[in-house]
Amino acid sequence: MSLETPLHKAQGMGSAHSGVSHFWKQRVTAVALLPLALWLAISALGLIGASYAGVLTFLNNPVNAVLMAAFVLIGLYHMVLGLQEVILDYVPHPGFRFFLMLVNYTFAIALAAASIFALLRIVGF
């Protein structure tokens, strides 16, 4: 007797076709974040002591605004994947685990929304 559903049997994929997606997304975002982190460090160092107007000028530059959005959004995506792995590894209680997964996603989406809103407001939409 098989425990597979008829649909699952018909698709014939076993457990494959989604197993590596988490791993792969984690690596792709990691590679993307390497040059972005370098850019962030150079920018942060350059903005030391900058006036409020100077910071706005920096973020009004479209290249800086786009790179900042890219760093925050890709960083948050990478963070969601990483924290998910940590939660699944260390939290045995199913209910608490589910709760922390929701916290993870809510935190990421809230920060993503706030950063996009802030950048759009600075750029002047």
Partner: protein, 138 residues
């Protein structure tokens, strides 16, 4: 076999984190996770900086005031080192994913390189900042 359960119960448990002297590879692996979790807080501070900049000079001044305290600078240094470590050790992980650097000798060596390089990068950035080499985007 089951004649003396007390004796069975007293047998040693398998060794755990608290018993081992940490090998380099184990330490870097644990620190990679810890810095990753910590950098979630780093993203929170970065987004706070963006929102403060978008909110006006008062909110921005409040952010700068807090960041300029000794505690603020220590936290910033922590994030800088965490980012440096996670990035450099991340490259080490990517090399492993491609199948390179798996011998014990190489893994130990790259582990030491990662620890030293991350400290050099983080301290280097702060030395540049405190010796007036930052601030070129005025």
């Amino acid at each position: 076999m089951a004649e003396n359960p007390q004796k069975l119960a007293a047998r040693p448990l398998s060794p755990f984190v608290t018993i081992f002297r940490w090998p380099i590879t184990m330490a870097t692996s644990i620190v990679h996770r810890a810095t990753g979790v910590g950098l979630a807080g780093g993203l929170l501070v970065l987004v706070w900086w963006l929102v403060a900049a978008a909110s006006g000079p008062e909110a921005y001044g409040f952010f700068i005031d807090i960041v300029q305290t000794t505690l603020g600078q220590l936290v910033l240094f922590g994030f800088a080192w965490a980012l440096a470590f996670h990035a450099v050790n991340g490259v080490r992980h990517l090399a492993w994913d491609l199948g390179y650097g798996f011998t014990v000798k190489t893994a130990d060596l790259t582990g030491i390189v990662v620890i030293v390089l991350s400290l050099v990068l983080a301290i280097g950035v702060f030395v540049l900042a405190y010796t007036g080499h930052g601030g070129y985007y005025q």
